[in-house]
Symmetry: C2
Subunit: 217 residues, 2 copies
């Protein structure tokens, strides 16, 4: 089965990284893959467009993670618990990751998303406040769950698969650690997990320090 898969991926893209972590956790290594360079716009080539009319990996890849979990339930790490209440918490964190990701992008990549003539200090300030509040919320989740906890409880789940690739941007882009001390402990606990280490973005390995987009948060 793993051999019949073909994964198109971009280095550092959270949606792609998610799938790669999930494949590692489900012991589905050995899949074929094709690295697309975002710089060269290879992710917008006809080959990919034919597969994915959105030309964005976000939603589709989240579903690939869920598909793999459902099709290979008993293989590797169990990522979605059976208990309905535990399951609901996993899905809640999965859905909420979208908030954290969007708010991080709205600050870190503000100049990339907003054309020059439409930028406003007041808007960026609002985006920063919104991101700070969001980080506080996530830090509170971990605080409440206790030391050494994963995002949805005592076990590593789909919530961690989906959220870790977003959380990893914060230390990389120099977010002040005091904005989210629990998240930073969580990051340190997870960064050497085999599935995450094996799928670490190659260009992050080459250049471990990112730009300082989040320094003034």
């Amino acid at each position: 089965m793993a051999q019949s898969m073909l994964l198109y991926w971009g280095s550092g893209s959270p949606p792609c990284w998610r799938v790669m972590i999930a494949l590692e956790e489900k012991q589905l290594q050995g899949y074929k893959h094709k690295h697309l360079s975002f710089d060269k716009n290879e992710h917008k080539c006809e080959e990919v467009k034919a597969l994915n009319p959105r030309v964005q990996f976000k939603k589709k890849n989240c579903c690939k993670c869920l598909y793999n979990e459902s099709a290979f339930k008993s293989q590797g790490t169990r990522l979605i618990p059976d208990d309905p209440a535990e399951q609901a918490l996993v899905y809640q964190r999965v859905f909420e990751t979208n908030n954290l990701q969007q708010k991080m992008y709205d600050v870190a990549f503000y100049e990339w998303y907003v054309p020059e003539g439409e930028r406003h200090e007041s808007a960026l300030k609002r985006n920063k406040e919104s991101l700070i509040a969001e980080l506080k919320l996530w830090d509170g989740y971990l605080e409440k769950m206790g030391k050494g906890s994963y995002l949805a409880g005592k076990n590593f789940t789909m919530a961690d698969v989906v959220c870790f690739p977003v959380i990893a941007f914060f230390p990389r882009l120099h977010c002040p650690p005091e904005r989210c001390p629990r998240l930073m402990e969580y990051y340190k606990m997870l960064k050497d997990r085999p599935s995450i280490k094996a799928s670490w973005p190659p260009h992050w390995l080459e250049k471990p320090e990112g730009q300082d987009n989040l320094k003034n948060l």
Copy 2:
């Protein structure tokens, strides 16, 4: 079980409406509920904040739908299919609904979200183009699936529960039907479904015509 639930809800809010449709489909009527007026800011009261630090219903309620499906699998309509491929499509549409909703808000409620001094015709124009492309995508999904199809295939699923409350905004806010003819057929097919009719927003019943925010799309 239904009797032990308490639902806080706002009329017309997609996240609330979703839960109400799902409860109907799962035959979990008879739950207690409390109607909160958005106009009076009742959704930001202490009672609700204590339950939901986000003071937004979006993500949490999506998970309530999934929780109910998981806890009451064999009761009422089966909303998540067992087959992994069918299941993946349902989740894909559920995740994608967020795109459609956000892009609709970015046009219909542009003036509400963006302070006066930060508004730009160029930004609104871009938002409109993005919404038109998104509608085309969804219309294409239905076109491909064939006449009388639901969003994820031949059966009504969680994809419809989650997406219908967003789709219902388009005719209400006077979106030109030629922007999404298949979606409008789908809307007509579903609007009298018992679960949807029973949970129709009361203030939409009182005032069936909304403002014309989407007229110039």
